[in-house]
Structure formats: C-alpha cells, structure tokens
Symmetry: C4
Subunit: 239 residues, 4 copies
C-alpha cells in the first residue's frame, strides 16, 4: 500500500512548470506556418538557436488567425535508466499548446504567449470530440504547492453551431499580477482534423507505448523486448 | 490435417499464467499516474527493480478512481527463432489490465491486485464499442487443464446511460479460496478514448504484424523482408 | 504517352500466382490461433521450416470457426533497386486470406486451403464497411492470360442482419477440375474489428508508403529522404 | 514580435513551385497501378531514372479511370541542420496529386499532367469528409509574387449522391496560355478509403511529427530525444 499524495503533487507541479519551459524552445524555431483561411498569414521564426540545444527537432503544427494563433507539438515522456538497465518513465508526455495574440495584420506578439499542456487523458477527450461537442479543461500550475490558486488556466474547445469547426480558447487568470488573458483561435473542421489526427498519432508516444512495442535503438538483445525472467518473478511475486 | 486440442490447451493455459506473471513486473514500477477527475490521486511506485530484469521499459496508462484503479500496458508476442533463421510467433501478445482496490483517499492496496489479459479479439471488441455499447469477456485461467473452473473471471465494459463514459469492472470468483472480488473503475469518455487509441495502436504489435511490415533490427538483407524462395515453395507445396 | 495493356496483364497475373505461393509459406508456420467464440479451437502448426526460408517472420491473425477458418497476414510490396540506387516498387503488396475447411471438431483440412489476395483498393473497401454493409470482390487468377476464365473466385463480406458481425465467404469455381468450393467463416464484430484495425495498419505498408516516409535502413544520407536534385529535374522536365 | 509577410510569401511560393517539380520525379517511375473498376487499366512506367536521383523510393497510389487518372504520394518536409545540431523544418510536407487525361482505352497522356499539392490542413479536410460531404481548395502558384493570378487551380472533392464514392476534379486556368484544363476522376468508396487511410498515415509525417516522436537514425544520445537544457532556457526566455 502506497501513499500517493506526495508523488502526485510533485509530478503535477513538475509537469506544469518544466513542460512549459520546454515549450519555449520546442516551437520557437522554424515551425512552418499552415493556415487554411484566406489572407491569414503564416510565420517563420528566425531566432538564433542557442548552442547547447543540439540534436533537437523543431516541427510544430501552427494555426494563425486574425486575433490570435496557436502552435502545438508533442512533448515526449522522459525515462530514467535504472541500474538494472530498465527504463522507467519519469515524466509523462503531453501535447503543448502555445497561444499568442495578434497585434496587427499578420503580426503576432510572441512575448505574450501562453501555454497549456494537454495530458494524455485531455488528448483522449479532444480526439473523441464529435463535430458538435465541446469540452473544458482546468489547470492550476501551482496545484498542491504553496502557489496553488495563484494562476488559473482554462482551455475551452467549443464546436461551432453549424458543426463546421471549433473555437479553441485559453483563459489565464494570474492573481499575482491581477491580469486576465483571453486568447481564442477559430479552427476550421480541416484544421481540427489535423489536430485530431496528429494527436492520435502522438498519443501512444506520449504514453511511452512506442517504447513498449519496439526495441529502442541499441537496446534489443533478443526477440523478446519485454521479456520476463520467470524465476525472478515467481520469487518476487509469490504470495 | 492437424489435431489441435493439445496445442490450444497448452497455449491458453500458458497465456493465462505467464502473461499475468509478466504483468506483475511490467506495471509495477514507474508507471506515471494520469487521472482526469478532480481530486483523484495519481501514483508513482518506488519498488526496487530486481537486478535480473534489465533492459525493460515500464510505461503503463493508469486510471485511478475512488473505489479502485486500473493499469494497462501491452504485452508483446514472443517469437522463437528457428534453425533456418526464421521467426515464428510463440505466444500471442495481449493488453494486460491490472485492477487494484482503493483503501482510503488516494490509497490503493497493491497486494489485492487482479489481472485480466485481453486477447487480440477482445481488444478488437473493445475498440469497436460505440458510446452506448457494452460487452463482457469470460476467462478461466485453468481452462482445459485439471484446474478448469476453479477460478472464473469476467470483465464487463458497460456504457453509462448518457453515453459519456463507461464502467470497466472485473469480477473474480475463486472457488479454491471461496472468495469473490469485484473491482470497478468508472472511465470518462476521454479516458476510454485514450484506452481505445492506445489499444488500436498496440493491436498490430500484439499480433506481431509490425514484424511483418518492417525488417527487424539486424534482420534485413535485401528489399524483400518477406521474400519467398519460390523453388523451395513449389516443392514444399506441390499437390 | 504509354501503352499500358501489356504491363497490366503481366502484373495482375503475377500477383495472382506468386502472391498465392507466398501465402503457402507465410501462414503455414507458427501462426497463433485466436478465437473468441466459446469452444472454438485454435491451432499451432508444427511443420518443419525448410532451410532456405531463413530470416522470415510468421505471424498471422487466424479465425477458427465450426465449418471453416481463415488466416490473414500482409504481403509486402517488393522493390527493385535501380542502378541509380533508387528503389522502384516492383509488385504491389496485399493482404493474403487463406481459407480452410473444418473436417471435424477442432480439425481443419489444410490441404484444401483456398487463397484470396486483397489488393489495396479491396482493403480500402473492407476497412470502410459499416456494421450493416456488404461487399463482393471477383478475381480471375488467369486474367488477361490464356487461362482467363478457367478459375473464378469471389469473396463476399456480408453483414449480419443485426449488425453484430459478418460472414466472410470464398467461392472458388475451377472449370478445369469441374469443382466448386465454398468456405464461409462467421466473424464477430470484435474479430472484424481486429481485421479492420490490422488492415488499416498494414495498408500504408502494402502501398509502400512506409518507405516514402522514413528512410530505409542503410539508405539515409541526409535529412531529405525524398530529396530532389532540382537542377536535374529542371532539365528532365522542361517543356 | 515578428513581421511575417516576407516569410509567408516566400514559403508559399516555394512550396507551389518546388513541390510540383519534385512531383515530376516522384511518381514518374515504377508506380504500381491499382484500379478497382472493371476493365480499367493500370500502368507501369519505364522511363530511365536519371543517374543523379539515387537513393529515392518510388511508390504512389494510382487510380486510373476512363477519362483521367490520378497519382498520389507523400512529399516529406525538409529540414535544415543548424550549427547547434538541431533540425529545423525548412519546407512543410504535402500530399502531391498528379492528374493526367486519358486519350484512349487504357492510354493516358502523361505530358498533359497537372499537379495539386495538398497542404496538411487540406489533407485534414479530406480525411474528415463524410460519405456525403464535399470540399473545394483553391491554389495560386504565383501567390504573393509578381505572377499572382496568372494561374488558378481548384480541386473539388464531391460526394456521389448515393454516398458511394466521390468525384475528385482538378480545374486549371492558365491566363498566360489562355488554357483551361479539367481533369476528373471518379473514386469508389474503397478507393477513397485507401486515400483517406494513406493520407491519415502520412499526415504526421508531412508535419514532421515522426521526427519529434522518435529519434532519427544516428541522432539519439540518451533517452530524451526532445531534451531541454533548462539552464539555457531560463536565460533565453526570462522576461
């Protein structure tokens, strides 16, 4: 029997903070703009990549609209290698959404970006939405810590009345700064279909199941990547 | 013409026993908690990994609810390498479900865990369920052996009346101990969507079809991974 | 402008004959039985694998029922390597179905097996079937050759009236032997779901698109697996 | 805050021109014909491959019908490797459609081919189409350049009234040549299902998300392919 509170709070806090920082980098460079609307601009960022960020891949799906834009990409889980050689998942993966407001025609203010990191279950909810369904997710980055309640975020996905698209909106209330930010991006049915298809593809990867179903590079020794030492097990688990 | 009874019984027995033992290990470490409900705790296990279980990957999808929780991950098929160098599937894969009861707020009793291993066809049934469908699977771990009927398990997946989720419940009757266990976990539509998407991803892998459609590491010699020696065949199969 | 008749006839003939021979081998060994029905037997084959069939993988999805059974697995396309180093698809892939009659309880007569090789478009039709849809495919193994019309095959997939499964039936009329074979296997909704999911997984592979979207082992030189020599192109294609 | 116009115009122009040139090569060789209609011919091209096009893979899905045919295959994104070692997406991927008119029974005039390159969002729209839905896409290859408006293309996907297939039609108006081309290919439900399944498979790849979710060959150093240098980040992104 295990006590779980401690682990939960640490994990959730960690995810909220670190994944957002990862987001800063992951979509900041070279994301290619896609925009199916007429006259809606795309964007290619030209920041210099810091030298210590080597071996990374930058490829986000971006939707740019008149009042705001949103960028998304998967954030893989991280694993810890045990002394035994086994890999244990350390931090779950997510789909990171980054919203940024428009400040003119085809101009976006990247300094005002806001993050929302979709957990696997939230991704499952999203890809399960029918053409007239809606959902809302609430995040508190400081949950179960001393900063609980200071910042509250909600993401709303709301179907258009005609079933031909969605509004994806992020609401951020920061009590420490007394600020409220509202960023809303209309998605066409096609853009939402890209999001659903890409998130469905990514979901097993952010769960780490791609690690279970194929050997990692340099990890396979035989034909049973999930082999079990049955003698060890029978001792370990005998009741 | 082949007689099949012997093979069936051995295989099914084997699957029931070994896959469950594999389960003991596969989800016992480092599984990251996901829980979309409000105030529902997650969990991170800290058991020591036995030294002889090296090169394994631990990544399960877990749903923790008020009365019980369930953990799931794919169990890959195993292959036997023939003298010829060919790989023959030895034991089919499955999705292993592990249920465990809650014994307090955010506390689960891992020693009372119960297993249910979904065959490929049961996985197919699960991913085919509509929002108001239900199904039930029956397992007898001792089927076709001398212990047949001693333990009977049934897994029920029952849609909520409003179509917004499911109850996934495991019933285990053990006549040797005169015990009955009932563990039931409510799934939101989003959590069930994760389960369906992850199981759809895993299904070709537990069938071993990923081996058919791409060369295994170190196995490819040419561009026909499923090449056929036609001369050999015509001799082998001539009627 | 090209004349196409010659290529079509050769290719289609080739596919019908060779793919069936490949089938003899691909599912003949070690395929693990799955059968969701109560009391329906599975099967594990124990033929000796010929020595020259090395480096192959044997993993089929099998459905065994009272009057007949069917085995299926993907048959990958073959590629020819050009002098330039490029790979050109040589023979398209397929999903090979092998039907065999029951001759008693849990006994099947493998010598009476019949083949039906699903083309990509037929696979597309199958995975598009709704719970009350049906379809029929016709094959003539001798099409466009001197043996045209000698053997006629039709595969019927017919939904149960209640939408809870399908009959998959193969009809083979061989005029050279004056024989008619009819083999029919009832599929539960779950078994058909496995077939659809596995075929959806396999479809891009039998099209060869997995080769387009990732570098083959030992083939990648840079980051543009489908790179284009633009100078060469502009010369090649200028009008 | 970034100014985006310049980047948009360059990228879109580039995509329109270069991807079409890539198309010239990608489907011109060895694409295997599939055609589910009765008496509709397939095709295998026998052009010599130019020597400088080595290490490429040619595998398209083709539909040949009475008045025209269409060939499709995915066009992967290209990446630029930065000094830091990171990969930045350089040009987004697409699904390239190539239409060609029939000029007789089983004869197609390849010199009159016309291209249409589906963006990720257009692919999303296509795979989201229900059996009675339709959509239309407009492209101007010279958009935002001095040749804007000279050539206008529209692709229409229109469901049959009975829901059993689609017409996929390309309209090209070239004002510089005063020509209008109209090429229309009827798709059966099965052929469209292949297109949807293959495009769903390809979509994460043309977004570059396969690069995010697995290490590229020779790129992995640890277990965090998307690892983040947190110190570097906190400096980079501090506000």
């Amino acid at each position: 029997m295990l006590k779980l509170q401690r682990w939960l709070s640490r994990n959730q806090l960690f995810e909220q903070v670190v994944c957002k920082k990862a987001g800063h980098v992951d979509h900041a460079f070279g994301s290619h703009p896609f925009s199916s609307g007429v006259g809606i601009p795309g964007q290619k960022f030209t920041h210099t990549v810091p030298k210590n960020e080597n071996d990374r891949v930058y490829a986000a799906y971006n939707v740019y609209k008149g009042k705001a834009g949103v960028s998304m990409f998967p954030c893989l889980p991280t694993f810890t290698k045990l002394e035994s050689g086994s890999l244990v998942i350390d931090r779950r993966g997510s789909i990171l959404l980054t919203f940024f407001p428009a400040i003119g025609e085809r101009k976006y203010d990247w300094t005002k970006k806001q993050f929302f990191s979709l957990s696997p279950t939230e991704v499952g909810t999203l890809i399960n939405l029918g053409p007239r369904d809606s959902c809302e997710f609430f995040h508190d980055p400081g949950m179960l810590s001393s900063t609980a309640g200071q910042v509250r975020k909600s993401l709303t996905i709301k179907a258009h009345a005609d079933g031909n698209g969605y509004f994806i909106s992020l609401n951020v209330v920061d009590n420490t700064k007394s600020t409220k930010e509202f960023l809303s991006v209309p998605f066409t049915a096609g853009e939402f279909s890209v999001m659903k298809t890409a998130c469905s593809f990514a979901l097993p990867h952010i769960l780490g199941w791609d690690r279970l179903t194929k050997p990692s590079l340099g990890m396979e020794k035989g034909f049973q990547p999930n082999k079990v030492n049955r003698e060890g097990l029978s001792l370990e688990w005998k009741r």
